[in-house]
Structure formats: structure tokens, C-alpha cells
Symmetry: D2
Amino acid sequence: MSEARDVDGAAPRMSLDEVLAFLEREFPQIDHGGRSYHLEAVGPLTARMRMDHHERHLRPGGTVSGPSMMALADLVLYAAILAQIGPVGLAVTTNLSFNFLRRPGTTGLLAEARLLKLGRRLAVGEVMITAAGSDELVCHATGTYSIPPGHTVS
Amino acid sequence: MSEARDVDGAAPRMSLDEVLAFLEREFPQIDHGGRSYHLEAVGPLTARMRMDHHERHLRPGGTVSGPSMMALADLVLYAAILAQIGPVGLAVTTNLSFNFLRRPGTTGLLAEARLLKLGRRLAVGEVMITAAGSDELVCHATGTYSIPPGHTVS
Amino acid sequence: MSEARDVDGAAPRMSLDEVLAFLEREFPQIDHGGRSYHLEAVGPLTARMRMDHHERHLRPGGTVSGPSMMALADLVLYAAILAQIGPVGLAVTTNLSFNFLRRPGTTGLLAEARLLKLGRRLAVGEVMITAAGSDELVCHATGTYSIPPGHTVS
Amino acid sequence: MSEARDVDGAAPRMSLDEVLAFLEREFPQIDHGGRSYHLEAVGPLTARMRMDHHERHLRPGGTVSGPSMMALADLVLYAAILAQIGPVGLAVTTNLSFNFLRRPGTTGLLAEARLLKLGRRLAVGEVMITAAGSDELVCHATGTYSIPPGHTVS
């Protein structure tokens, strides 16, 4: 489709350090109450983020809450898009869909994001969340982001 | 369907005060950093919850963050199910899907939940979130909850 | 939001007859094997469509198949958007999400669509599907459609 | 989680031929108007299905319709579950969610399904649909299926 950018395999426009600096400057509220989301890597159409275990993310039974995982998925997808297209405008989340598969227990989480499409107007990606030190999927998410009209890709 | 309970129009089993007491006891983490989610009403297959404006819910541009709205939707659906079937077991979120429609700005939010189905094993509901004092929808959510097997409805 | 059109309460740009003529001309494949989808009404941000009972829509146990309901939901949302903005370009489905609530049995279906947002670039709507002659919801759907860039609303 | 079956890596209970025979017997309506869905392989928690190009699957511009892709995704997920747990009861679709990524053009499609969770009560899977002879994803789907209570896994 002409709508899709020819980005497969293309290197991201921002390095991990650049994305980290951008997020720290623009999203200081993320770590309200103590830092817990850590972007670990960005690559071609991918990003990886770790979430520390923290009391405020817990639910009855000592498991990580759904909303903490939803925030994690949204952030890591946002980071993957940001890294790939650069800080030219703020992508806006239009749709997020989650399947909660297993209770993660009292543990940190690892989120791996992959963009399935990066078009001129929309980006779509999926996220696999596992408990730290385990291969078992605890949550699968998909997200759609609207990319600002002014944005041009050379 | 035989799977669906005959609940249409049935009064909830718990009063607003009972649901509030239950949530306070079981989910003290919700209000980490200051109380902001307020259940205002429960009715037959419905619940209404208000979210205060608070600094930690904000995103760049001063708008309420997606994850804050996702937590709100999950909580109000949970409250609607809890009120209807009583505290006989903890319903588990299996799927949540969100459409973010407009940016809410710097404001409190109002969430109206309605259960579309309350079966023996699954409950499905939708949530409409508006900015306080406005009719405009900022987010629409649907959620599915698994109801523990041991639970029986007389 | 500036992105949202000021369409609430606005009359649709096309009449029911105009939408029907457009669909017949552009989507002749819909009724491959016998006509079964009938658009019954369009209104401000709404549309209603009926689906006849037909052997080819059935699944084991004699119930209407999921895919038949999915096609119905997609069509009625498409018709609601088309009526509202006029035949200025083809909206493209970007996301559809379905909750199947009850088995409809061997019966026709009625789908009521409502647009929750009609922006310059995206339209989002929901669909309630009931079995003919019943109030019970058999399926709830939400859909997102991308509106062609060339399209302008005066 | 105790709810999840220990199925990772387990061989499916039915062979490809057994699943094909079951589908032909139970879902003769699928191929109303000419056979077009072909299950090609089943494996541990996976299945692959091909959809032929056929006039009745087309939409304006000659592209494969969304509903044809939705039927394909539902069928291949159903086949993956059926193969894995055997014909002990009919799994019921409770949720399907689709992201349409690119227009597939006038071509056959290939769908690869993978189960992300196979619990006692719910199975969740994802499907990647590509145009035949291409690596580009045209649609991504996730689905949840309710597994009949009577079903026991030895």
C-alpha cells in the first residue's frame, strides 16, 4: 500500500539515550511515586521496557495490577514509534486492546513491543509482556496511534 | 441462552456503601498518592465512578493520561460486577479494549459502566467516559471478566 | 478537540435511498448467494441494518455464524459514516472489535450503529446486534475507520 | 497459574486429517458458494490456513473484504484449539479483535494462528494474515474462546 512507509529494517532515527532524554523531559509524571518504568532497548520497529516491582502496582493477592501493565504497554509502544520516526510530533493513542493471560505474581515485568505497521497517519503495534525471569506471557496488547498530519518522512 | 443469568432488571446484591467498604479493604493501593477514584452509584447492571483531577494523572499538554482512564474503566466495571453478584469471589479481568476519542484536558472524569452480559462464567460490560461537566465522550471501553467457578447464583 | 467535526445532531448528507443506491453500485458482492443485508434507516450519526436468516449464515446448532455478524457490523458502521459525510471517498476499516454475548439462534438480526466520534481523519462507532424480535444483545462491536485525506467537510 | 494447562510444546490431539474431517462434517456452510478455506497444517498450539482468491470475497477496488479475513481468522484459531484439545466440545468465540494493516489486493491469503494461552475455561490466540507470496502483514487478529465446562484434560 502506498500508505505504508517503507520502513522495514530501517534503523530508528533516535538512539536509546535520545528517547530516554525525551521521555524524561516530556513525561515526568510517569514515575510519580518512584521510578519504575525503564526503557532498555530500541531497534528497527521494536522497543523493550522493564517495569520494576513496586508496592503501588499491586492488587489483592500480591499480583501486578492490570492498569500498571496497560501503562507499560502504552509506554513501550509509544517509545518504539518515537524512536523510529523521531520527535517530530506527539503520536496520540487511539486504540488499545489487552488480553490478560496469567497473573504475573509479585515480580517485575518485561515488555517487548513490535510495530506491525508504520504508515503516514497510523502506527499499529503489539506488545508481549512476560514476568521477569519467565517465558510465560502474562499479557498481550495491541495499540493504534495517530501520527500528527504535519509529520513528513523524508 | 442458558449460560446467561436472568439478571436483567434485578437489583444489585450489594449497596453502594458495601461496595465502597469492600474496595477500600481489598484495593488500598488504588489511591496510592492521594484518593482520586470515587464510586458514586451502583444500580441494576450499572455503576458510576468519578475520577478527580490530580497532577499524577497528567500527560504532556496537561491532559489526563490514557492509563488513568484505563484504570478508571477497569475499576468501574469491576464495581458493577461486584455490586451485582456480591463479594463471593474476585472477578478477573480477561480483556479490555479502549477507543480514545478526544483529549479530556485538565479535568476530572466521569465513567458510566453498563453490563451487557452477566453469565455464569463471563461478564461483559462497556464504559463511557466523559469529561466532568461535558457530554462529549473522551473514551469508550469494553471489558470481559472471568467469574470464579465456585460462584453460584441462587 | 479541534480534530473532531462539529457534527453532533447534524443531519446526514445522504438519504437512505442515496446510501442504498451507493451500496448496491459499489458493493454488489455483499449479497453473493442471495440478498440478506438490508439497510433500514440512517439518521444523525446512526444507521440501522437488518440481516435476514439464510442457510449460508448458519453454524453448528443452527445459530448465526460469527462472521455473518461481523460483516453486518462492518456494513452498518460503514453506512452510518457514508450517510453522514457523503460519498466523497471510501472510508477504510482499520480496527474492529467484537464481543459475542449470546447465541442468536436461527433468526434474523438487527444492528443499530452509532458513531461515537467523527473526526477529520478517524471515525469510531459502536454497534448493538439483537436477534429479531428480542431485546437481548447477541453481539457488541466497535469499529474505527480511516477517512481519506482528500476529504473536506465544509 | 493453576488455570493454565501445561500444554507448551505438547503435541496436538488431532492430526490435520482428523481436523479436516471434523470441520467438513460440522461446518459444511463454510464453503457455501465454492470451497475457499484450506487448513494446511496444525502443530503444537498452532495452525495454518489458506484462503483462495474468489470473487465473492472482494470489495471495491478488487481487494479482499474485511469479513472474509475475519472469517479466516476465526476459523484458523478454532482449528488450532480443536486440534490441541480434541473434539470434546465446541469452543465458542467470545471476543475477536482485528487490526487491518494493508489492503491485500486481489490475491489469496495465508493465516498463521498461535495460541497464547490454553486454559481450562478460556483459550486466547493471535493470527497473522499475509497476502499469498508476500511477507507483509495485511491483518492482525486476536481471539478469545470459551471452552465448555464439561471438557476435562487428562
